[in-house]
């Protein structure tokens, strides 16, 4: 038995056989790429060729290989890798079929191999093996250490890997992937966010894992405590199996809540919406009983492709989520990245303070083609369902007016091109800076809705970077300053009779739900797996109780006191039955 400690990024317990995605047996699933990714994908293929040639150079010159017939094999492989018509056949396939480089390599090389295998001459038919070997080498360089066949799993596994990309994580089939553990990564890595959305227990940043992991052994991923146990002893295993059973039982009890309304005991309906990152996560929101999507983060479009997404890339992603949700609301937030994270920008300001720098809406307002491309795609998608657009990091009214003016420009362009869109699409803003919270009354006159982003609001209000371990304990949503701002924003939204939701982490924190309801919040947007638990709390409380708690909290003067009061209240409701 070996216990490794890492960072818990997605709660739950997974117990299954290990699947180390580092094997040499590749099965490459067909996976499409976006049109805008073509050039990058072909670049990947070229790079893999260059790396494979480099590697063979080393093998060839290595003294250890004295047998010339082995060396000769590699010399021939090298000719293949240098053959431009051979490489072109692969890049042409990527270009034409819009598939990943690894898929193109595997299809083309297997075509060639089967051509050889089908020739009735032993000398030639045997050459298929050479082609397979070239294929493996290229695939290895294309995929790094990671194998991609997790999509085709037939048994339950815990995935162990060096690191995972969000795309890999998003492709995990939850039925079979019971958890994952990576050597690298952090709490805010995209893989972690996706794991939480999918509800797969995950632990990251484990450091080097043992090189030999017994394939028939067992792995426990404890996503609650951030522990991974390799080959547990029978006592530990029993403890965890029991714990996992208890969690499943309460999870299935929560699932029974799915079709019940999120309504307080005194009959006040609360809208529970989901936060999503990838279009296919919309299904998870529906599965958990979500009433819509309150925050559709669009950054993955920019991050994954490594290239600025085209209008079509945007449109297809939005259309998928919107169609899944039918007529339920889908709030699309425009690009919320810093200049350093936007691909293909020549201008990377060397910012000493990126959180206060050129990012998010500020970046968009300075890069109109990029912004307009996204707005146009959102507008095109607006006829497919109940679509709303939301601007992040707005700090004052002129900024909001400027963003809305650009939206109108795009609408006019579309009028000229006779492209249909919804002219009454609702336009809202994130309230995530103290300046927007303090001027919420002004902003509300020109916004259709507000969404409070608590994480950034707390960071900017308290001047605390919670990723900085030296000050992270100072990061608290229960600080009186934060609560005052929240209360003010809720009141201003009510006065102006505009929509208001909370989409930051406090919306999924059981201890804060009563407080938010007491302040007057009626819409929460949160990660899909948390929806049932929050619904249970809502169904257990009355608005009157929540109001009492909120008034009590308003009299307290420290984060610690407030936290204690909120915790006591939350403990009382969860011990009662609903």
């Amino acid at each position: 038995m070996e216990i490794r400690k890492g960072i818990a990024v997605s709660p739950g317990i997974g117990i299954a056989k290990p699947m180390v995605i580092d094997s040499r047996e590749y099965h490459i699933p067909r996976r499409s790429i976006m049109i805008s990714q073509r050039t990058a994908e072909i670049g990947r293929v070229r790079k893999a060729f260059a790396q494979a040639i480099h590697e063979l150079d080393h093998i060839e010159s290595a003294k250890s290989i004295e047998k010339s017939d082995i060396r000769d094999i590699f010399v021939v492989h090298m000719r293949f890798l240098r053959d431009k018509t051979f490489r072109k056949r692969i890049t042409d396939f990527v270009n034409k079929e819009l598939v990943t480089g690894e898929y193109a390599v595997s299809v083309i090389l297997r075509e060639i191999a089967s051509h050889f295998a089908g020739i009735d001459d032993p000398y030639i038919s045997e050459r298929a093996a050479d082609i397979y070997d070239i294929e493996k080498r290229l695939i290895k360089h294309l995929l790094g250490r990671v194998e991609d066949n997790v999509e085709h799993l037939r048994e339950e596994v815990v995935v162990l890997s060096h690191d995972l990309t969000p795309t890999q994580t998003a492709s995990f089939n939850k039925t079979f992937v019971k958890g994952f553990a990576t050597e690298k990564g952090g709490r805010t890595s995209h893989a972690a966010i996706v794991a939480r959305s999918l509800g797969i227990p995950a632990v990251v940043a484990l450091g080097n894992m043992p090189s030999e992991i017994h394939p028939d052994g067992l792995i426990i991923v404890d996503g609650n405590r951030g522990v991974v146990i390799i080959d547990p002893d029978s006592e530990t295993l029993q403890q965890y199996q029991q714990l996992a059973r208890q969690m499943t039982q309460s999870a299935s009890a929560l699932n029974e809540l799915r079709d019940l309304p999120a309504e307080t005991r005194d009959g006040v309906k609360i809208d529970l919406l989901g936060n999503i990152e990838f279009p296919n996560e919309a299904t998870h929101v529906l599965d958990r009983g979500g009433d819509g999507i309150g925050l559709y983060r669009t950054e993955f479009l920019y991050l994954y492709s490594g290239k600025e997404p085209t209008e079509e890339d945007h449109y297809h992603a939005y259309a998928e989520a919107i169609r899944t949700m039918k007529d339920k609301p889908v709030v699309i937030r425009t690009m919320d990245l810093g200049a350093d994270k936007v691909p293909e920008t020549n201008f990377h300001p060397n910012e000493t303070n990126p959180a206060l720098g050129l990012r998010s809406i500020r970046y968009c307002l300075q890069n109109l083609p990029l912004f307009k491309t996204q707005l146009r795609a959102i507008l095109r998608a607006s006829v497919l369902g109940n679509v709303r657009v939301m601007f992040p990091l707005i700090t004052n009214l002129p900024e909001l007016r400027q963003a809305k003016m650009i939206l109108r420009d795009v609408m006019e362009d579309m009028d000229d091109d006779a492209i249909p869109y919804n002219p009454d699409m609702r336009v809202g803003i994130m309230i995530e800076t103290p300046s927007s919270a303090l001027t919420a009354g002004l902003l509300a006159q020109e916004s259709d809705f507000f969404s409070i982003g608590s994480n950034d609001l707390i960071q900017y209000t308290l001047a605390v970077d919670r990723a900085n371990e030296h000050v992270s304990t100072l990061f608290s949503p229960a600080e009186p300053a934060v609560l005052r701002l929240l209360r003010g924003v809720v009141q201003d939204a009510h006065k102006a009779r505009i929509g208001l939701s909370v989409c930051g982490e406090i919306a999924s924190d059981p201890e804060f739900i009563m407080l938010l309801l007491g302040m007057g919040v009626r819409t929460l947007s949160l990660a899909a797996p948390m929806i049932p638990e929050i619904k249970k709390i809502i169904r257990s409380v009355s608005i009157e109780e929540c109001g009492d708690l909120t008034r009590k909290v308003a009299t307290l003067d420290s984060s610690r006191q407030i936290k204690n009061v909120l915790r006591d209240a939350a403990t009382n409701i969860s011990s009662e039955t609903y």
């Binding site: 010339s68 017939d69 000769d72 094999i73 010399v75 021939v76 000719r79 293949f80 053959d83 431009k84 018509t85 051979f86 056949r89 060639i112 051509h115 050889f116 020739i119 001459d121 032993p122 000398y123 030639i124 045997e126 050459r127 050479d130």
Partner: protein
Amino acid sequence: MSEVAYETEIEIRNPEGLHMRPAMQFVDVANAFNSDISVSNQDTTVDAKSIMQMTMLAATCGTKLKIRAQGTDAQKAVEALQGLVERDFSATPPVSSVSQKKSD
């Protein structure tokens, strides 16, 4: 520049045919010339400078091939390739044949 095309017919006579190793030698020789060089059997024509295409031609022992070159050094190219085939790929860089492990 003279763009004369030269052509010749050859027959593969080495027992392994134009498999990996001989194909590689063939391609290497072809790549030493500037001319465009193609090789045809009865039904296909391929680029003599591409090892992929040459090996996929799968010329076994006894196959008759037509070599055609076009360019400034077309004649030299055709002669060099013809010489290589007629020597049964033996005289060029002396490396033991890869597939001799398979007895014939």
